[in-house]
Symmetry: D2
Subunit: 344 residues, 4 copies
C-alpha cells in the first residue's frame, strides 16, 4: 500500500518510537507494570498531564475509553456523548457489553456537544425506571477534526460539576488539540478539570498502546483490577511505557508529530481553495480534512491515495494525515485533483 489518507493507524511506527522499542529490549524486567521503565514513564506522565493524573497503560483506544468510563460509573447509570462519538459509532457496543450502561446521545454535526445538548438529558433524575446520567464523554479533537476551545471545555466542566456529572475526554488524538490550541497537554486535561482522559498512542506513531489517565480518586482505587479483569493488562508493559516515554519526553515528539500533520492538513485545505468543486465541510483544526468532492473524482483519487467515505448520505470524505505523510504527498494529491478538474 502506498501512502493512505484512510486513517492515522494506516501508518506504521514512528522511527523514534521504533528506536525506543529497540532500546527497551535490554535484558529482563518484571512484568505487569512493576518494572523501572514503567515507573519512570508514570512519573513523566504526571509531569506532562498533572500530578493528579494516575496513568494506566492499556492496549487500544476502545479499552481506554470503556475502562475510563467503567471506573467511574455503574450499569444503572448513563453516559452522555455526541451522536458522532467513536464510543457510539465504532465500538461494536463495547460500552453496553462491558459496562452494561445506557448511552444518551446529543445530536452533533461537527462532533462537538454543548451544555444545552447535555441538559436535555438531565431529566427524570431519581426516577428508578430511568438510567441516571453520570458521565459526559467528549472527544477532543472530535471525530470530525474539530477542537473544543479552552472556553468551551471550561464551560462543559462547569456545567458537569454543577450537575454532579463526571467528565471523560476521548483523546485518541489529543496531541492535535494541544497543538491547535497552542497549549500543553496538562492545560487541556488536569487544567480544565477532567476526571478521566483516554490519551492515544496508536494514532500518533506508536505500535500499540494508550493511556487511561484517571483523575477521579474513587476510580483510581479500582482501576488496576478493572484493567486486568477486562483483559487489558499488558505483561511486557515496559514496551508500551517506553513508547510513551519517547512520545512525551523533553520538548516532545508529540508536538513534532502534531505540528507536522496539522501543517499538512492546513496545506491541503489551502490547496483546495482552488477547487470550487470541492467543499471543505468542517473547520480544519487537527490532522484531517473533511470534504465533498465531485462523484467522478472519487475513483481516480482513491487510486492515488486510499481514503474513506465518512458519511454516505452526504458523500463526505475524510482525509486523515499520518505522521509520515510528506509535503510532497500532499502536493501530488492536489496535482491529481488538478488533472481531474481538467479532464472531467
Amino acid at each position: 500500500m502506498s501512502i493512505s489518507l484512510g486513517s492515522d493507524n494506516h501508518s506504521g511506527v514512528h522511527p523514534k518510537i521504533l528506536n525506543s522499542i529497540l532500546e527497551t529490549n535490554q535484558g529482563h524486567a518484571p512484568a505487569y507494570g512493576t518494572d523501572e521503565l514503567t515507573a519512570q514513564t508514570e512519573k513523566l506522565v504526571k509531569e506532562v498531564f498533572g500530578k493528579n493524573a494516575e496513568p494506566y497503560f492499556v492496549f487500544n483506544g476502545t479499552a481506554a475509553n470503556v475502562l475510563c468510563l467503567q471506573s467511574m460509573m455503574e450499569s444503572h447509570e448513563a453516559v452522555i456523548t455526541a451522536s458522532t462519538a467513536h464510543l457510539q459509532m465504532d465500538e461494536c457496543g463495547a460500552p453496553e457489553k462491558i459496562i452494561g450502561c445506557k448511552r444518551l446521545l446529543v445530536p452533533s454535526a461537527d462532533g462537538k456537544i454543548t451544555t444545552d445538548g447535555i441538559k436535555k438529558h438531565l431529566v427524570r433524575l431519581g426516577d428508578q425506571h430511568c438510567s441516571q446520567p453520570k458521565v459526559v464523554s467528549i472527544t477532543q479533537p472530535t471525530e470530525y477534526g474539530t477542537c473544543y476551545s479552552l472556553e468551551e471545555l471550561r464551560e462543559i466542566r462547569r456545567f458537569t460539576r454543577e450537575n454532579n456529572l463526571l467528565l471523560h475526554i476521548d483523546g485518541a488524538r489529543l496531541i492535535q488539540a494541544a497543538h491547535f490550541l497552542k497549549t500543553d497537554l496538562k492545560s487541556i486535561t488536569e487544567g480544565i478539570g477532567a476526571d478521566a482522559v483516554s490519551f492515544g498512542g496508536t494514532k500518533n506513531g506508536l505500535l500499540c498502546g494508550e493511556i487511561a489517565l484517571i483523575y477521579h480518586e474513587p476510580a483510581k482505587k479500582k482501576f488496576k483490577y478493572i484493567r486486568k479483569q477486562n483483559m487489558q493488562l499488558p505483561s511486557k508493559m515496559r514496551f508500551i511505557a517506553g513508547q510513551f516515554q519517547e512520545l512525551l519526553k523533553g520538548p516532545g515528539l508529540w508536538r513534532e508529530i502534531a505540528g507536522h500533520t496539522q501543517a499538512l492538513a492546513q496545506r491541503l485545505a489551502e490547496g483546495l481553495k482552488n477547487f470550487p468543486e470541492v467543499t471543505v465541510t468542517q473547520p480544519v483544526q487537527a490532522n484531517s480534512v473533511f470534504v465533498t468532492i465531485p462523484k467522478a473524482w472519487f475513483k481516480p483519487l482513491r487510486e492515488e491515495f486510499f481514503f474513506y467515505v465518512w458519511d454516505e448520505t452526504r458523500f463526505e470524505m475524510r482525509w486523515m494525515i499520518s505522521f509520515d505523510v510528506t509535503t510532497k504527498d500532499i502536493d501530488r494529491f492536489l496535482a491529481v485533483m488538478r488533472q481531474l478538474k481538467e479532464t472531467t
Copy 2:
C-alpha cells in the same frame, strides 16, 4: 534487572522477532487485519495448525482464553478446568465478568485433569437450576510444566465428544508441548480435535500478541464481533501478525526457542540431582522446574536470579526459563547453590 527465572514474560523480544517488527514497518497498510501481511500470516497459521484453524490475533493471553470460551458458550453454561488453571487463578475473574459463566473445578496437583475428574461435573444435565457443562479447558503444557501425552489428549477428546462438550486448549506455551511430545503444532491441536486453542506469543519471545485459533464452526461466525466488542481488535494488526509469521515460518523459530529452553530446564533438573536438599516436585516437560528448597537458600538464591514462590503452603518454587537464558546462566545458578550447600 539481571536474568530472571520469574517468568517467561520477564524477558523481552527475541532478536529475530524484533527484526521482523522492523521489516513490517514499511509504509502504510490497512488497519484491523485487512492488510497483506496479516493475510499471509493467516495462511501460514492454517498450514501450521491445520486448514480448519481460523486465526484471530488478540493482545494477550487472558483475552485469547476468555474470547475462545465466549465464542463457544453462553452465560448459563459452565466451563470445566483444573483447579490450578490460569483461567481460575490469575485472571481476576475475567471469565465471570466477560462471559458471565460458571466455573467447575477439577482438583489437580500437577495441573492436569482426567476424564474421571471431568465426569464428576456431568450431573444435573437438563436441570434449569444448574449451569450446564459446555466446555472443557485444559492447559498444555500445564501451569506446572507438565504435558498431556497424545494418548491423554485423545482420551479427553473422545470423552468430551461423547458428552457433547467442546474442548479448549490454553496453549500460552504450546510450543513447549509440541517439542516435548516430539511432534508438530497441528498434531496437538487440529490433530487431536480441539475446538479452540489459545496459542501464545508473548511468553515465547513476542512483544505482545496471542492467537485465538477457532476450529468450532459456529464460533467462527461471530468471533470478529466478539473480539471487537471485548476491546481486543488491534488496529495496527500487521505488527502482531508479522511477529507470528517470524515465529512460525519455515523450520520454525518456535522449535528453536522450545528446544533451547527445554534443554536448559533439563540441564537444571539434572544438576539438581546433586542436591538431596532440593526436591523437584513436578516432571520437567516444558521450560520450567518446580522445586522445594531449604528455607535458608531462598533469599541468597533470589538475589542471584529472581523467581516466585509458586505455592506458599508447600514452599514450592517455580524456575521458569526464557528464550534468552543461557547455559552459563544455569550453570552459575547451580554454582550458587553449591556454594549455599557448603556454607549453610
Copy 3:
C-alpha cells in the same frame, strides 16, 4: 386512592382472577412449573397463541421483554425499536445490563415504526466495528395506545424475514390489540409470524405474571436456563399459571376486559368532542386516551382522578383505563371537565 387513570397497574386483581388464586390454593404441588395446573395452562396457551408457541411464565413485563430478546440475540447484536418504546424509556437500561446489546432507535410520534425507519439501521452489515441488527421489537398496542393493523404487521414481518431479522412483540396490552383488530390472539402472534411475544398479565387484571411466548426454535432450547439465571423462575408457578388460565380460557375473560376498557376509552374520547379546549393527540385504539388540556384544568382534574403527564414538552396527558373503571367514572370525569370549562 380513588379511581386512577394513571396506569392499568394502579388497579388491583380482577375478581375472577382473584377467585382463581383461591381455587389454585389446594394442597401441595411441585414447584418451578412441573405441576399439573401449569401443564394445563401451557396446553391452553398453545391453543390460544398457536401450537408453536412455547410459554414461559415470568414475574413482570421488563423480564418478559428482556428475556425474549436475550434468547434470540447476542451482546454484539442490536435490537431496533421505536424511540418511544418501553424497552428504551422505562427499563433503567435493563437490556443493556442483561443482554449487553446495542439499541437502535427509530424516531416515532405515535409509538409505531415502519420498514422505512427500520431500513435506515441496516447499514454496515458485516462490519466488525458495528453491532449487527438482529431483532426488531415493536409494541402492540404501542405505548401511545395505537395499534399496528394486520397489514402493517405482515409488512414488518415480510421485511424482517427478508433481512434476516427476528421479530419481537411487546404485548403488555396485547389483548387490546386483538379486540381492536376484531381478531384473536393467535392471528396477531403466530399468525403474523412473530418470533417471540411478551404477553402481559399484570396490566390486564393479574396480581403479577407475564408470559414470554417463544416461537423461535433455537430460543426454546435455552429459555429455561436464561429464565432461572436471570432470577425469573417463580417457585410457586401454579399461581401465575392459574391466573393466566382464568384470563385465557373459554370465550375469554381477556375479551371481556379489553372490550370493556376500550369501550370506555371510546366513550371518553367521544365525550371530549364537546371540548374544543382539549385535543386528543393519538388515535384511540386501545384502553388509553392521550390529550392536551388547558393548563388551568390540570390540577383540579388530577384531584378527581390521578393521571400522568406523558410528555412534558408538549404537555400531553395519558388517561389509562383499568378493568374496574366504570361508565359512571368516565361520565363523572367528563362532568368535572364541563364544570371546569364553565368556571375557568
Copy 4:
C-alpha cells in the same frame, strides 16, 4: 399431589396470607411501591428488623440474594460462601451472570462455615490478578437445616469487620432460625451487624415475595435502580407488601409457622429414633430432617409423600415440612415406615 415433604415451596399460600391478599385488593393504588400499604409495611419491617434496615421487595429468593450482593460489590470482587450454599448450587450461575463476580467456596458438610474457612481465602489481597474478597454470605438456617448460634454469628461478624468484609445472610427460612434460637428477627440481623439480609417469604407461606433488607449505607443509595434494571421491581407492589405485613405484624404469624413446622420436624426426628435403619444426618434445628434410609424403603415412602434425594453420593434424603403439614401427616409417615420395617 398429596402432602409433599419435597420442599416448603410445594405448599400453597397460608390462609391468613391469602386473606390479606383479598383485603389488599381494594380499589386503586399507585404502582412500584409508592402506595400506602407498602409504606406501612416498610415501617413495620424497620420495627421488626431494626431501624437501619431498608427493605426492598422483590419477587423471589434468587433475586434477593443476588441483588443484595450486587449492591455491595463489584465484578472484580469475590463473595465467599459455603460449598453447599444455594447461591452456589441452585442459581444456574446467576451471581456470575448478574454481578460478574468470582465465588470462593468454603467446603462444608453441615452448611455452615467458620472464620477459619473464610480466612483461607484472604490471600493475594491487593494483587491485581486476583478477585478481591468483599462479601461473606452465609445461609441461616443453612441448606442442611442447621442454625448458626448467636455466638457463631457474632464471631463471623467480628472477623468480617476486622477484615473489611461485608456480611450477607441468605434468610430464605430466617424465621426458623429466630424460633430455634429463641430470639426475635432483629437480634439475628441488625443485632449481629449484618450488612444485607435476604428475608424469605415464599417458603414461609407467601404466594411470592422476598425482602432484600439493606443495612449497608452505600448500597441503599443505589438499590432501587439495581432492582429495576435487574427486572425485579413489582408493579402491583402492595400485594407483596401486604403479605409481609400479615406475616410480620403483631405477635407474628411467622412465629406460629416456624413453631409449628419445627415442632413437627422434632416429632419426626424423635419418631425416627425407633428406626435403627434410619440415620438422622444433620442436627434438626429448622423445619427439615436429613436422613439416610434403607434403599428398599425409598420407593414406597416416596409414594406416600414426595421428597428429594439431597445427596446422591451418600443417598441422603431431605424431608422438608411446610406450614400446612399436620401432626397426623407426620404420624402417618412414621406408620408407613413401621410397616416397611416389618415387611422388608
